[in-house]
């Protein structure tokens, strides 16, 4: 396992690594679904490092494996799925080698995660105060009143008005945005080093979205916390994140500084994403990427995007492309090149 | 592609039965169930025939006080004899016939009642809905056995009493399902289309609601027959149902219990037959449910 890791590392250009020491590092991570005889590969050889206090966006269509990657970091893959290669390091220490109990001690404490739908992601039958206090008491041996004070303080911090009273409320009594704030509070109450955010604003309307994005940005700065923000919305991510990694069919196809990536996307897929997401003048046709993402198990051996790519060449279908450095690090044999500005 | 209203309206009608799917009944792992079911049904039909042909009744009614409590496989009685020396096998077959007749009667009655009240409630205005809801809720809260016991006490124990008492207590469950289904059906395009075309409510009810409710109704009917058979046996066991000399599994249990010290097979045989029939009907219901009710609208037994 050490061997390929070093190899892949060597092929990653400077743009793909964070400026500071990585808090979270995904090393050659692969995830598969175990079938009766074979296994179906869902995520392959993902390398990603997230520096301390850095926000990294992980972007891709649904089915690209971005949520699975995050769940694997938490050790929470659905049953039937397993990490089949690589490792995840938190502050330089292996997570996936941990015993279940030791891993649990880190979840919610050192590494935390928030999810897409805040209504179904909170226990509908438990008061929100209790849900936050429960997180504290699962990790720290503090008094109930101290835990309650901490919870109120954090609810107040994430912008819940009259936090002390709202502790006794149930999730269904909140609006979508407020619920997501509660979920953030419950995830961050122990000031984790890393937050994985799995499309936390997708279920919200646009104005509420902005508030949540702003909140996460602030908390990230305050707590010196690393964030992996998963989204299919490239525009949102490039505005929030320091760096962006684009996933397609279970692998990262392009990594770059977010400002750079949005402007000069070299992978045809990223280019397509940028084009389909941007606002166009009235009357101009929306651009979209033809075809749909290949199902796991039916990935072509060559470039997995080749069947949908308009820049496809003969060598694309043969060998699986490796990373190339440049203005962005890109997994493409024929990346789009831009004239120097 | 747009459809005209009559085309949409035509969509909703008709059962999409796929007979080929029922071929799995003959696959090896289902074969035991299928064979068992065929035997039970055949015995039940034979039992019903016994009731309809008076000259055959001697088969289970003939007493022989010199040969009471014979054990199975002795003296020419395959399953032995009871306290009056009557043949147990024929008693069981005849009892099963009565059970099935009562079960089917109860089911038909409560399905008709449930269908009517359910559709009335869901499709014929708020007042009808309120009234039918109260009736359904009140009946629902009434313990079935108590009502049956009272009715049996009121009109005297008989087959009619049993059918009435059981039907009156089982229909609300079906009425609730019907109401729920019609509430969602009436918003569907083909119903709206039919209404726009001026089809009367009664015709819509029969042509669209009843027809579309058929699959789940068939499933429920099978469960209801099982429930009613248990109910009949229970009432007869208490002395409030079928009266001797008419054969009944519940009656056999009740009489058998008194002679438990002398011979146990009448009780065990009738109890086992009862349990097997119910087990088979429930399994058959589950099987149909898998085929006819893919969305799980019928509560499982």
């Amino acid at each position: 396992m050490r061997g390929p890791e070093l190899l892949v590392k060597a092929s990653v250009s400077p743009a793909a690594v964070p400026a500071s020491r990585p808090a979270l590092a995904l090393l050659d991570l692969s995830i598969s679904q175990r079938l009766r005889r074979t296994e179906k590969r869902l995520v392959t050889h993902v390398d990603l490092e997230v520096g301390q206090g850095e926000i990294v966006g992980l972007v891709g269509e649904s089915g690209s494996g971005k949520s699975l990657t995050a769940l694997a970091c938490m050790g929470l893959l659905p049953s039937g799925l397993a990490v089949t290669g690589g490792d995840v390091h938190l502050d330089g220490a292996s997570l996936l080698g941990l015993a279940p109990k030791a891993f649990r001690a880190l979840r919610g404490n050192a590494i935390s995660m928030i999810f897409q739908d805040p209504l179904s992601s909170l226990d509908p039958c438990a008061r929100i105060g209790a849900q936050i206090i429960e997180t504290i008491r699962a990790h720290k041996d503090v008094s109930a009143s101290q835990a309650k004070r901490d919870a109120i303080e954090l609810l107040d911090r994430v912008g819940i008005p009259r936090a002390a009273q709202r502790m006794r409320a149930y999730p269904h009594e909140f609006s979508g945005g407020m619920r997501q704030r509660v979920m953030i509070a419950a995830a961050l109450v122990l000031k984790p080093r890393v937050l994985l955010a799995d499309e936390p604003t997708t279920a919200l309307d646009v104005t509420t979205q902005a508030g949540i994005v702003e909140l996460v940005r602030e908390l990230c700065r305050e707590l010196q916390m690393s964030v992996v923000w998963i989204s299919h919305d490239l525009a949102l991510v490039s505005e929030l994140a320091d760096r962006v990694a684009v996933m397609y069919a279970g692998e990262i196809v392009e990594v770059a500084d977010s400002k750079v990536l949005f402007r000069v996307s070299r992978h045809p897929y990223t280019k397509g994403l940028v084009a389909s997401g941007s606002i166009r003048p009235y009357g101009e046709r929306f651009s979209y990427i033809p075809g749909s993402i290949a199902e796991p198990g039916t990935w072509p051996t060559g470039c997995r995007f080749a069947p949908r790519c308009e820049r496809v060449r003969e060598e694309c279908v043969g060998e699986h492309p490796d990373f190339r450095s440049g203005t962005t690090t890109v997994r493409c044999v024929n990346p789009i090149e831009y004239e120097a500005e | 592609m747009t459809m005209t209203a009559p085309q949409i309206a035509a969509q909703g009608t008709g059962l999409k039965a796929r007979p080929s799917r029922f071929l799995i009944l003959f696959q090896p792992h289902n074969l035991v169930w299928t064979i068992g079911g065929v035997i039970i049904i055949a015995a039940g039909i034979l039992g019903i025939v016994l009731q309809l042909v008076p000259s055959w009744r001697h088969l289970y009614l003939t007493q022989d006080l010199t040969a009471t409590f014979q054990a199975p496989l002795s003296t020419g009685h395959v399953l032995g004899t009871d306290n009056l020396g009557r043949d147990l096998l024929w008693q069981l077959i005849a009892g099963l016939g009565i059970s099935l007749m009562i079960g089917i009667g109860v089911t038909v009655l409560s399905l008709v009642l449930g269908l009517t009240v359910g559709i009335l409630g869901a499709y014929f205005g708020r007042t009808a809905d309120a009234v039918s809801n109260v009736i359904v809720d009140v009946t629902w809260a009434f313990p079935a056995i108590l009502l049956a016991v009272l009715l049996a006490g009121a009109i005297g124990p008989s087959v009619t009493t049993v059918v009435l008492a059981l039907a009156l207590t089982t229909w609300p469950g079906y009425a609730r399902i019907v109401r729920g289904e019609v509430l969602s059906l009436r918003e569907r395009d083909f119903v709206n289309a039919a209404r726009v075309l001026g089809v009367p409510k009664l015709v819509i009810s029969v042509r669209h609601f009843v027809v579309n409710l058929m699959p789940i109704t068939i499933v429920i009917a099978v469960y209801y027959v099982a429930t009613a058979i248990i109910g009949e046996a229970g009432l007869s066991f208490l002395g409030l149902g079928v009266q001797a000399p008419m054969p009944s599994l519940g009656l056999m249990l009740s009489v058998g219990q008194q002679y438990l010290n002398v011979s146990w097979w009448p009780v065990v045989l009738s109890g086992a037959l009862l349990a097997l029939v119910v087990l088979f009907l429930n399994a058959f219901g589950d099987f149909l449910r898998g085929r006819l009710d893919p969305h799980g609208r019928v509560p499982r037994r």
């Binding site: 938490m74 649990r104 935390s112 992601s121 226990d123 | -």
Partner: protein, 310 residues
């Protein structure tokens, strides 16, 4: 609030309806209590008429009903025409036994059924789970009176382990309680298992795991509470059935409770006894449903707002 009022109205309607149905079905029926009291073939007609007049049996039915209900409301429960005991005495003698029997069955159904259902769900597809499922579907197919007789036969008559009739000691209670509980126990185990599995895969369990909450706490605290809705909804129906089945089970085991008295009074047309006992039973059912509804709203806060589940 509106929800509570509606339930209350239903409760009253149900009880009044039960009283009317009971009263009319008993009195309007052919055959009369006099046939239980006198030998009709040998007793002079004048004696019977005098008897009927004395007990108000010749009044028009609405008048009799009015007398019965006003008497009931003023605390006069009437007298058994067969045994001459006051109905109050009969109730006082038998209600405790029925409460004991039904209470024990209740504990078996929910106190034992729910934990076993949860364990089966947690150990899904294990031998324990398969065993529980197979056992529950067999038990479910055996009507309780059949089960009762078979247990009497095996445990009582052949093995002499447990007494088969009567009341008085704990060992007398075991068989009737098991028989009364069996079918509903199976249903509870099944619904608990299904509902628990459904909630176990709900999104919120993932969130709890992501916050490091222990699996045991997630299961027994969060998932169990969330899966209680269907269990309680079914429980309300089960308690109704349970109270009904006491009639049968008490008769099988000669348990001297309300059920035995009720069945006997129906067969003898002992009007007052039947009426009071049915009303008691109906009131118990109504009360149980009300408690069930309250439990439902305690368990799931969303019910409190809408007044309906889900």
């Amino acid at each position: 609030m509106k929800f509570v009022l509606t339930r209350l109205c239903y409760a009253v309607v149900i009880i009044v309806l039960v009283s009317i149905v009971t009263f009319y079905s008993m009195h309007a029926s052919p055959g009369s209590v006099v046939s239980s009291v006198f030998n009709l073939a040998t007793t002079p007609h004048s004696v019977i008429v005098a008897y009927e007049r004395r007990h108000g049996l010749l009044d028009p039915l609405p008048v009799q009903y009015w007398h019965f209900m006003t008497g009931l409301l003023s605390g006069n429960f009437g007298t058994s025409l067969v045994s001459n005991l006051s109905v109050k005495t009969i109730v006082a003698n038998s209600a405790g036994y029925t409460a004991l029997l039904a209470g024990s069955a209740f504990v078996l159904i929910f106190g034992v059924g729910i934990p076993i259902g949860v364990l089966a769900a947690i150990k899904r597809d294990s031998w324990f789970d398969r065993g529980v499922r197979a056992f529950s579907s067999i038990v479910l197919a055996i009507p309780n009176f059949v089960l009762g007789i078979i247990l009497i036969l095996v445990l009582g008559i052949h093995l002499h382990v447990l007494p088969v009739a009567g009341a008085g000691s704990f060992s007398n209670l075991v068989l009737p309680a098991i028989v009364l509980a069996a079918a509903e126990w199976s249903l509870t185990v099944r619904v608990t298992r299904t509902s628990f599995l459904e909630q176990l895969s709900a999104d919120f369990t993932r969130t709890l795991r992501a916050r490091g909450v222990s699996e045991r706490r997630i299961q027994w605290r969060h998932v169990l509470r969330n899966s209680m809705g269907p269990i309680i909804s079914l429980g309300i129906i089960e308690v109704r059935n349970l109270l009904g089945y006491t009639l049968i089970v008490e008769v099988i085991f000669r348990w001297p409770g309300l059920g035995t008295e009720l069945v006997q009074s129906v067969l003898q047309r002992d009007y007052d006894v039947t009426e009071v006992l049915s009303l008691l039973l109906a009131a118990a059912v109504v009360l149980a449903s009300a408690f069930g509804d309250i439990a439902l709203s305690l368990v799931d806060p969303r019910v409190r707002v809408t007044g309906e589940h889900g």
